[in-house]
């Protein structure tokens, strides 16, 4: 089977999630890549070096800048005439483009796969990860998005792919990029952070949330997350929210502080490698999933932890 991996890139860099998609695609067969954008020569070059990638199809044109789905999807759909599976990372970029490609091909997408069982069969989370479905597609062509935390990342070096320029299509003229207001933070992105410290309603106020958690996060080089309760209470902005309807994360270490562990929160973080819970209520459900628990007052523990680390 010949696969086509959508290469997500920003500022000339290939995003990590792409590397997980390459690994997933390699389980299906030959891996080709699609680099779409404007002035993406360097990205294409970098893509040829990813271990396991053969041909890199490059569509380079001004109207493909910022990966507008309206312009990118037809390019991908055209390339799918000679490929069998379109594989995209399940990031906001991949989720924006892949279903549009699928509909153009009259294919039902298999979203956010966790594993490849065989070339037609995949597992995927449903009900916010409360159940795992094994699904088999009957579509001849496949469109998949890949959960980045479920696959190893392919190595950025070691590949020896070749570059082929392809037809960049035309500008549909129906959409245009205005701006990107990047999250104002020196800290890593929640969905790609190795360590996350996350706070709940127990912090009591926005001031206390930030004055206690930010220094700890900075010490650990961690991203800061929040429970829905903390977000609803206004202690943290919505894009901090980890959970069923917020962000799904699976860092190396997740430190949940003052978070009781409601179902919707657990759904967003229970695939983390190590979970640390700090909570004053020793019966809190969060302790049922935590590898390391510490019962106590966060207002004492957090400053002490920050100081002693």
């Amino acid at each position: 089977m010949k696969t086509l991996v959508y290469v997500e890139h920003e500022g000339g860099q290939i995003k990590d999630a792409t590397l997980a998609a390459v690994t997933a695609a390699s389980k299906l067969g030959e891996v080709h890549a699609l680099v779409a954008g404007s002035n993406v020569g360097a990205v294409a070059e970098a893509a040829t070096k990813i271990a396991g990638v053969g041909k890199v199809h490059v569509a380079d044109a001004a109207h493909l800048d910022h990966g507008l789905a309206e312009n990118v999807a037809p390019v991908a759909a055209k390339l799918m005439e000679t490929h069998d599976a379109f594989v995209a990372p399940a990031t906001t970029t991949g989720k924006n483009i892949a279903p549009r490609v699928a509909a153009l091909l009259d294919v039902m997408q298999v979203s956010e796969i966790l594993s490849v069982e065989d070339e037609n069969t995949f597992t995927r989370p449903i009900y916010a990860g409360n159940a795992i479905a094994t699904v088999r597609t009957s579509d001849a062509k496949k469109v998949l998005t890949v959960r980045g935390t479920a696959f190893e990342k392919a190595a950025r070096e070691g590949g020896s792919g070749s570059v082929e320029q392809v037809e960049a299509g035309s500008d549909t003229g129906t959409s245009s990029f205005v701006n990107l207001e990047a999250s104002e933070s020196e800290r890593p992105e929640l969905t790609s952070a190795k360590i996350i410290v996350s706070g709940g309603r127990a912090f009591g106020s926005s001031d206390q949330f930030h004055s206690l958690l930010d220094p700890l996060a900075d010490k650990l080089g961690a991203a800061v997350g929040a429970s829905r309760a903390a977000v609803d209470a206004g202690y943290a902005p919505n894009d901090y929210q980890v959970g069923q309807t917020g962000k799904i994360v699976a860092p190396e270490v997740y430190i949940a502080i003052g978070i009781s562990g409601a179902i919707q929160h657990l759904a967003g973080m229970k695939d983390s490698k190590i979970i640390v819970a700090i909570n004053k209520d020793e019966e809190a459900p969060i302790f049922q999933v935590a590898d390391i628990g510490l019962v106590g007052d966060l207002f004492k523990i957090v400053p002490e932890l920050t100081e002693k680390l």
Partner: protein, 249 residues
Amino acid sequence: MKVLVAVKRVIDYNVKPRVKMDGTGVDLTNVKMSMNPFDEIAVEEAIRLKEKGVATEIVAVSIGPAKAQETLRTALAMGADRAVLVQTDEEVEPLGVAKLLAKIAAEEQPQMVILGKQAIDDDNNATGQMLAALLGWPQGTFASKIDPSGGEVSVTREVDGGLETDKLKLPAVITTDLRLNEPRYASLPNIMKAKSKPLATKTPDELGVDVTRRLETLKVAEPPKRQAGDKVGSVEELIGKLKTLGVVQ
């Protein structure tokens, strides 16, 4: 302008889904069902557009069993003007739903279709994008702010790295994220009034859409359970553990 909103009847947000013993799916018998939370946000946004004088009529559409009428009545009670149910007992996939919605859009000629970014049952996050592709319209996915004016709509989207703003030509498809708004509760008088608002029923056959599933669910299982680990007694002990695990130096 006319706005179409799509709503889905799903397991209530607060109910813990239980996998059936025979592994065929999630048990929905005697489980509370509600409108998909992201679709509530879609309905709310349409109503706000109407309150601002931008939208003139709101048509709510649902695809599902006869009971999905309740979900549509909720949308009507919130403030939608009329409703269309495409009735089927089959579980229709996003591709099928998108095809049905495309037919309804062709009949209704809305300037905007607003849908939730995903349903909290099958978590596909695909219907809006597929609908936009089928109609050849632009899409503003994961919207946290929309601002229509003069044949265009500015859409601020929640993307992994921050907030991206795109400008789309109308007609367009919008999918909602959590930050877009806080949906209102329907008042009792409005719930009563909703009972007499028009609700039309169609079938996939009448719309000429084949909704045969492409994906077969072979098995549904519970995710692997995590084991609770140890509790430590002090911050020192915690740091010691983290050192052993190589988390901190």
